[in-house]
Amino acid sequence: MSEIRVKVADFAVAGTGAVIATIGLGSCVAIALYDPLARVGGLAHILLPSVGMSQDRENRAKFAGTAVPLLIEQMRAIGGRVERMRAKIAGGASMFTALLPTSGIQMGERNILATRDALTRAQVPLISEDVGGDHGRSVYFDVTTGNVLVKSLRRGDVTI
């Protein structure tokens, strides 16, 4: 089994036999899309909700709003079909909450909301998630089974 590492603001797509992993998500969100019939999967590690928050317009994997269409395109190219795709997401934590302003929604929450919104717009159903809280996560997406293992230091491991 080959493991593909996805860095911050990066993505990868793969077929059966691969595990796509991303390490140390805090307020970032990992978006895993899966076509169970073609056994094609894609994972993006997004940093920000939308391109409007950045000068960087080049990297589509950096933003929730652009990463979802990017994953769909790239999965199509290796045999995935958008109407069969399902999504799982993880991340969006808040840290050092005592120092955060009490009003307004936090970056982690904004990333979660923007990701859900991007999935709705792309008509990809969100079937499972492990989001929010105040703990970091690492994600291992097994493209053979579609299972997403979410590891954390303090909350243990869950499969979504």
Binding site: L47, S54, Q55, A98, L99, M107
Partner: protein, 206 residues
């Protein structure tokens, strides 16, 4: 933002010098707290894209204890003190005057000791900076988080940074020789973009 990436060599030198003065005072404070000799490295200035924030530690999922404080007043930004978790446990033992290996984990008292270490270090650092530059700097109360190193670093910039593209960190490594073991930690000054310029103005190199 362009000014962050185009720091001139003499400006970088000045920033390193400012950081060195801060870190020197912080090291003295830490040394008094723990009764050990503390060595510090020459400060490193990292100007990177947020997604390329350099890892101080070997592994992205290594557990670290991090103490974050806001810096307020004439300069705004944050300070972040980072210890690998086993070092944090040992630091807590040193501060609580406990024998080596007597603490296994970071409980409430140990966490409180680490936060206090952060408080004293950042306080000494900011005091030195404010005296040297003639600026008023005020630290917020400390907040402690224990988690994977990559998650903490990225989230700190993402949640609190004024700029979501470029980040600047002024990094000093601390080393402490304890019972033949080298313990290390990192102190990061994370100035907001405008404050970086304010520092340079204060040392007349803007």
């Amino acid at each position: 933002m362009s000014d962050m990436t185009t720091l001139k060599p003499n400006q970088l030198d000045a920033l390193r010098e400012v950081a060195n003065i801060g870190a020197g005072h912080a090291a003295t404070a830490l040394s008094q707290m723990t009764g050990n000799t503390i060595m510090i490295t020459v400060p490193k200035i990292n100007v990177t894209r947020l997604e390329d924030v350099p890892a101080q530690l070997d592994s992205e999922d290594e557990p670290i204890a991090a103490v974050l404080m806001h810096m307020m007043g004439d300069l705004t930004g944050r300070t972040l003190l980072i210890f690998p978790q086993p070092t944090a446990v040992r630091m807590a033992e040193l501060m609580l005057r406990r024998p080596i290996g007597s603490s296994r984990d970071l409980g409430v008292i140990e966490q409180s000791a680490i936060k206090e270490a952060g408080n004293i270090l950042a306080g000494a650092y900011m005091n030195a900076l404010s005296e040297f530059m003639g600026l008023m700097l005020l630290p917020s109360p400390p907040s402690l988080h224990i988690d994977m190193s990559a998650a903490i670093l990225t989230t700190t910039h993402l949640q609190f940074g004024s700029d979501k593209d470029q980040v600047v960190s002024v990094e000093t490594e601390f080393m402490l020789k304890d019972a033949g073991e080298h313990l290390r930690g990192f102190f990061l000054l994370l100035p907001d973009a405008a404050s970086l310029q304010a520092i340079l103005r204060a040392v007349r190199l803007a």
